[in-house]
C-alpha cells in the first residue's frame, strides 16, 4: 500500500512540490494519471524487446535459453490484466476469490464462440468477453459475498468448478469438451477492422505498404494482435488507477482494512464489495477475450481456462507481484508466465537435465521466497528499495517521507486492538 495519495475528505489530491530536485518531482508525479499511462505504455511495449531480445542474448552468450518467444508477451498481458482486476478485489477490498478462472474462462469461451458463430472481429470479441464475464460476476458475487473469509473463497471456487465440469462434459455441445474449442477458426486468421491481419507484424505491414524490407528484432517486430492486447492492457491499468485513486477506491481500501468501521460510517459494505467483484470481472473478461484471441486457430481448453488451478494462478500472480499495488500484478504475471513457459524449457548446460514439469516446484520456491522476504510482493520490495533511495537522494521534507509510510501505520494509530 505504498502508493497512497494524501487524502482530504475522500478526495484524492496529488502532491506537486514546486521545489525539490528531480527525484522529488518524479516521486510526486508517480501517482498522476498521465505518468501512470505513459509508464504503462512504455512498460507494455518494451516488454517484448526485454523478454525476447535482451534476455535472448544469453542464448548466444552462454547457451542458456533464457529468452522469451513471440507470443509470450501476449499471454503475459492477458493474465496480467486479469490480475490487475483481481488485485482490486484481493489487494484493496481484501476479498480472496478462488473463482476467477470462471470469469476468465467464460470470457475466453464466449469470445471464441462469438467469433465463430457471429463475426470474427477481435474488438467485438473483447466486448463480448467483458460483457459475459461482467454479467456472470454479478450472480457469483451476489451469492458469494454474503459469506466472508474461507466460505467466500470456497463458494467462488465452487462456482468455478461447476462451470469447469459443465464445459468439460455436459456442455461439450457448446465448448467441444476435452478436445478444446478453436476460437477464430477462420482461414488466414482474424483481422482487425477488416483489413489488418492480427498476426501481421510491423515489418510485414511496412513491406506491404512501402514495398521495402525493414529488419527488426523479434521483440521489436510486434504483431497487430500484440498491439491490440497492449492497448487494452494500458487502458486496463489506467482504469484501475483511476478506480484506486477515486473516493470509491478509497472506500474499497477501507473495507479491506476494517469492514466494521466502514459499515459504522453508514456505507453499504455489501454493495461496495459486490461492485469490486464485478469490476474485477470486467478485467477478467478483457483478459479472457485476449487469451482467446491469442489462441486464434488453436485450442481453448477447460484445463487452461476454467480449472480451479487457474484461479490459484491468479492468486499467485497477484501475491508474487505485489498485493495492493498497481504494477505488482503485472510484474507477477511476467514472473509467473516466464517461469511457466521459458524456465520450464531450460536445459541445465552441460547436462541433459531439463526443468520441465518441475516448473511448479520452482514457482513454489519463488513464491515462498518472495512472500517471506517481501510480504508486499516483488513490487513492494522494489518500492521500499526505491523509498530508501529517495530518502537518500531526494531533498524532500520530512512531511513527504512520512507520507510514504504504509497506510496501516498512519491510520491505525489508536486502533481497537
Amino acid at each position: 500500500m505504498s502508493d497512497d495519495a494524501e487524502t482530504d475528505g475522500g478526495t484524492a489530491i496529488e502532491v506537486t512540490p514546486e521545489d525539490g530536485n528531480l527525484v522529488d518531482r518524479l516521486v510526486a508525479a508517480k501517482d498522476g494519471e498521465r505518468f501512470v499511462a505513459v509508464a504503462a505504455f512504455v512498460g507494455v511495449f518494451a516488454m517484448p524487446f526485454v523478454l525476447i531480445d535482451v534476455l535472448g542474448v544469453f542464448d548466444t552468450l552462454i547457451g542458456l535459453s533464457l529468452g522469451g518467444f513471440v507470443g509470450l508477451p501476449t499471454l503475459i498481458l492477458s493474465f496480467g490484466i486479469v490480475a490487475v482486476g483481481y488485485n482490486l478485489l484481493l489487494g484493496y477490498t481484501g476479498l480472496l476469490s478462488f473463482g476467477h478462472a470462471a470469469l476468465f474462462g467464460s470470457a475466453a469461451y464466449a469470445a471464441g464462440i462469438f467469433s465463430n458463430n457471429v463475426v470474427a472481429s477481435p474488438l467485438l470479441a473483447v466486448v463480448v468477453g467483458i460483457a459475459v464475464a461482467t454479467l456472470l460476476s454479478w450472480p457469483i458475487g451476489f451469492l458469494s459475498i454474503r459469506r466472508s473469509g474461507v466460505y467466500f473463497a470456497v463458494l467462488t471456487l465452487t462456482f468455478g468448478q461447476m462451470l469447469y465440469f459443465y464445459a468439460f462434459g455436459p456442455g461439450s455441445w457448446l465448448t467441444n469438451g476435452d478436445d478444446g474449442y478453436t476460437p477464430f477458426d477462420v482461414a488466414g486468421g482474424p483481422d482487425l477492422l477488416g483489413f489488418l491481419a492480427m498476426d501481421a507484424s510491423i515489418t510485414t505491414l511496412f513491406r506491404d505498404i512501402t514495398g521495402l524490407t525493414l529488419t527488426l528484432t523479434d521483440g521489436l517486430d510486434m504483431t497487430v494482435g500484440y498491439m491490440l492486447a497492449g492497448l487494452v492492457g494500458v487502458l486496463a491499468i489506467v482504469v484501475a488507477h483511476r478506480i484506486i485513486k477515486s473516493p470509491y477506491g478509497l472506500i474499497l481500501k477501507a473495507i479491506g482494512q476494517n469492514e466494521q468501521r466502514v459499515a459504522f460510517v453508514g456505507l453499504n459494505v455489501f454493495r461496495y464489495k459486490l461492485m469490486a467483484f464485478i469490476l474485477s470481472g470486467v478485467f477478467a473478461g478483457a483478459g479472457g477475450a485476449l487469451y482467446a484471441l491469442s489462441k486464434a486457430g488453436l485450442t481453448v481448453h477447460p484445463d487452461a481456462t476454467l480449472y480451479w488451478v487457474v484461479s490459484g494462478d491468479f492468486v499467485i500472480i497477484t501475491a508474487v507481484g505485489g498485493v495492493g499495488s498497481l504494477a505488482g500484478p503485472l510484474i507477477g504475471a511476467v514472473v509467473f508466465e516466464y517461469i511457466r513457459l521459458v524456465v520450464q524449457g531450460i536445459t541445465v548446460p552441460g547436462t541433459e537435465f531439463q526443468i520441465g514439469s518441475l516448473w511448479r516446484l520452482l514457482l513454489g520456491v519463488v513464491f515462498v521466497v518472495v512472500v517471506t522476504l517481501f510480504p508486499d510482493g516483488i513490487y513492494g520490495g522494489l518500492s521500499s528499495l526505491g523509498d530508501r533511495l529517495v530518502e537518500r537522494f531526494g531533498a524532500a521534507t520530512d512531511a513527504d517521507t512520512d507520507d510514504r509510510r504504509p497506510v496501516e501505520e498512519v491510520e491505525e494509530t489508536g486502533g481497537d486492538d
Binding site: 513471440v70 524490407t213 524449457g345
Partner: protein
C-alpha cells in the same frame, strides 16, 4: 533465435506473390546456404538440428509418454552414432540428418491439449525445432498439429488413434502412421462376430473426447453393419480413477459384449473394474485399442479380451525391422518396447529419411517426400503414407489377452489375426479421409 527473423514475412507475404526463383529450385543443400525461401524454422543454421519431443510426462497417459521418450532418445542416438534402423535403411546413415547433429528438446504435454500446445510453441519459437513429434492423446495430437500447420513446422503424430487426427482435423504438416478407430472397427468387427456370434447386443463405454467418441462411432458403425445392436453408451471423463459406478450401470441381462474404449491409466483402471464388478461372467469384454502398458498393469484381467494394437514386440519373429528395434530397445532400456515406443522411433526415422530424400529441411519438399511414400521398413509390414490424407494405409493387428497362467516373459497378448491394409483401409473419398482437407504447403507459389 535468429532463424525466426523473417518467418512471418513468408507467412503473410503470400499475397505479395514472390514467385521468383521458386520454380526451378531443386537440389542439395550445401553448408547451410538456403536454396528455398525461409519458412517456419527453415533454414536450419549451424551444424545442429533440433527435434522437439512433446510427450505426456504427467496425466493419465504418462506411462506411455515415458516409453515414447525412451524411444525418441534411442532414435537420436542412432541417427547421430548409427545403430538400429539407421544401419538398415538406405536413406539413413550415421552422423545426423543431412550431416547436422541431431539434438532434442523435451516437453510435457500433461495429457491436455492446452499444455501441449504451449510446450510445442516454446519448442518451435524458442528452441527452433524443425520437427515436433509425440503425444498420446488424440486431442493433444490435433492441437499440436494445428499449431504446427500455422507455424510451418512438421508434425509427426505418434500415438493417436482418433479418426479426426487425419480426418476432419487433418493438416498438411501432419503425418500419422498409426491406424485409426475406423480401421480398428473394420478389422475387429468381423472377428468379433465370428468369435462371439450373430445378433448380439453391445454396450459402449468410452473416454469422453475425440478419440473415445470416434471409436464409439466406428465400432457402432461396423458392428451394426454386421447385425449387432448397441444397447446404450456411457462417456467417462479422461483421467477417471474409479470406474466402479460406471460398471454398475451396465445392464447385465441385455448386454452380450462390453466395449471398453479406454487407454493408459484409464484402461488400467477400467479393465480391472469391469472384472471386479463380475461383468466378465455375464458378457465378453472387448478393448478396441489395446494399450500394452495398461495391459501390463491389468494383466490378471485380460484373459480372452480382444482388441487391436498398432504393433507388438512379438512381431519381431517375422519382421527384421521389428526385431532390430526390439533388440536395440532391450539393450538400451531393458524390457520390451510398447507400441508407443515403436511409433515414436518410427516417426523420427521416417522424418529423417524424408529429409535425406528431399536433400533439404525445407518443409514443403520434406512433406512431398512423405506423400505417397511406400515403405516396409518400420516393423509393421508394407505400408504407404498416403498423399490425400497423410494417413498411413497399413495392416491392423488383432490381438487377444492371455490368461495369467499363459503369460510369460512379458508376452501378455497373442496375435489372433492380421487384417491387411486393403481390407482395413479406405479410399481417399471414404471414411475419415472424406472429411480431410489438408491445407496448404505454405509456399509462396
Amino acid at each position: 533465435m535468429s532463424q525466426n527473423i523473417d518467418r512471418r514475412d513468408v507467412l503473410k507475404g503470400a499475397g505479395a506473390a514472390g514467385i521468383a526463383g521458386l520454380a526451378g529450385c531443386v537440389g542439395g543443400e550445401s553448408g547451410g546456404d538456403a536454396e528455398y525461401p525461409a519458412i517456419g524454422n527453415y533454414p536450419v543454421e549451424g551444424d545442429e538440428v533440433v527435434l522437439g519431443f512433446n510427450v505426456p510426462q504427467s496425466g493419465p497417459y504418462a506411462s506411455e509418454g515415458n516409453d515414447e521418450l525412451k524411444a525418441y532418445n534411442l532414435a537420436v542416438e542412432h541417427l547421430n552414432n548409427g545403430g538400429g534402423w539407421v544401419d538398415m535403411w538406405d536413406d539413413l546413415s550415421a552422423g545426423g540428418i543431412l550431416d547436422k547433429t541431431v539434438i532434442s528438446v523435451e516437453g510435457d504435454t500433461a495429457t491436455t491439449p492446452a499444455t501441449a500446445e504451449e510446450s510445442a510453441t516454446q519448442m518451435i519459437r524458442n528452441d527452433g525445432a524443425i520437427m515436433i513429434t509425440g503425444g498420446v492423446s488424440s486431442s493433444v495430437a490435433i492441437s499440436q498439429q494445428k499449431l504446427c500447420q500455422q507455424e510451418r513446422v512438421q508434425f509427426m503424430s505418434c500415438l493417436t488413434h482418433s479418426n479426426a487426427t487425419q480426418g476432419a482435423d487433418c493438416v498438411r504438416y501432419g503425418q500419422r502412421e498409426m491406424h485409426n478407430a475406423f480401421m480398428t472397427g473394420k478389422a475387429l468387427a468381423p472377428i468379433l462376430v465370428e468369435e462371439f456370434g450373430e445378433d448380439l447386443n453391445f454396450y459402449s463405454m468410452y473416454a469422453d473426447y475425440t478419440w473415445g467418441t470416434s471409436n464409439r462411432n466406428s465400432m457402432k458403425r461396423f458392428l451394426e453393419d454386421e447385425g449387432w445392436t448397441q444397447t446404450d453408451e456411457a462417456p467417462t471423463p479422461l483421467g477417471e480413477s474409479d470406474f466402479s459406478p460406471y460398471m454398475q450401470d451396465v445392464p447385465r441381462e441385455e448386454t452380450d459384449v462390453l466395449l471398453l474404449i479406454h487407454f493408459g491409466a484409464d484402461a488400467a483402471n477400467s479393465i480391472p473394474a469391469a472384472f471386479d464388478a463380475g461383468l466378465d461372467e455375464d458378457m465378453e469384454i472387448v478393448v478396441p485399442l489395446y494399450d500394452t502398458i495398461a495391459a501390463n498393469s491389468a494383466s490378471d484381467d485380460i484373459g480372452g479380451v480382444y482388441g487391436t494394437v498398432d504393433w507388438n514386440w512379438q512381431l519381431g519373429e517375422e519382421d527384421e525391422f521389428a526385431q532390430a528395434f526390439v533388440d536395440a530397445y532391450r539393450e538400451a532400456e531393458g524390457g520390451v518396447p510398447s507400441y508407443a515406443a515403436r511409433l515414436a522411433y518410427s516417426a523420427t526415422m521416417r522424418y529423417a529419411a524424408a529429409v535425406e530424400r528431399a536433400e533439404t529441411f525445407y518443409p514443403p519438399e520434406v512433406i512431398k517426400q512423405l506423400e505417397g511414400h511406400e515403405y516396409d521398413n518400420t516393423g509393421i509390414g508394407e505400408a504407404v503414407s498416403r498423399g490425400c490424407d497423410h494417413q498411413s494405409q497399413r495392416d491392423v493387428f488383432v490381438v487377444q489377452g492371455r490368461e495369467p497362467s499363459e503369460q510369460e516373459d512379458g508376452a501378455l497378448l497373442s496375435l489372433v489375426g492380421t487384417t491387411d491394409k486393403e481390407t482395413a483401409g479406405y479410399a481417399c473419398d471414404a471414411g475419415p479421409a472424406a472429411n480431410c482437407e489438408l491445407g496448404d504447403y505454405g509456399e509462396d507459389s
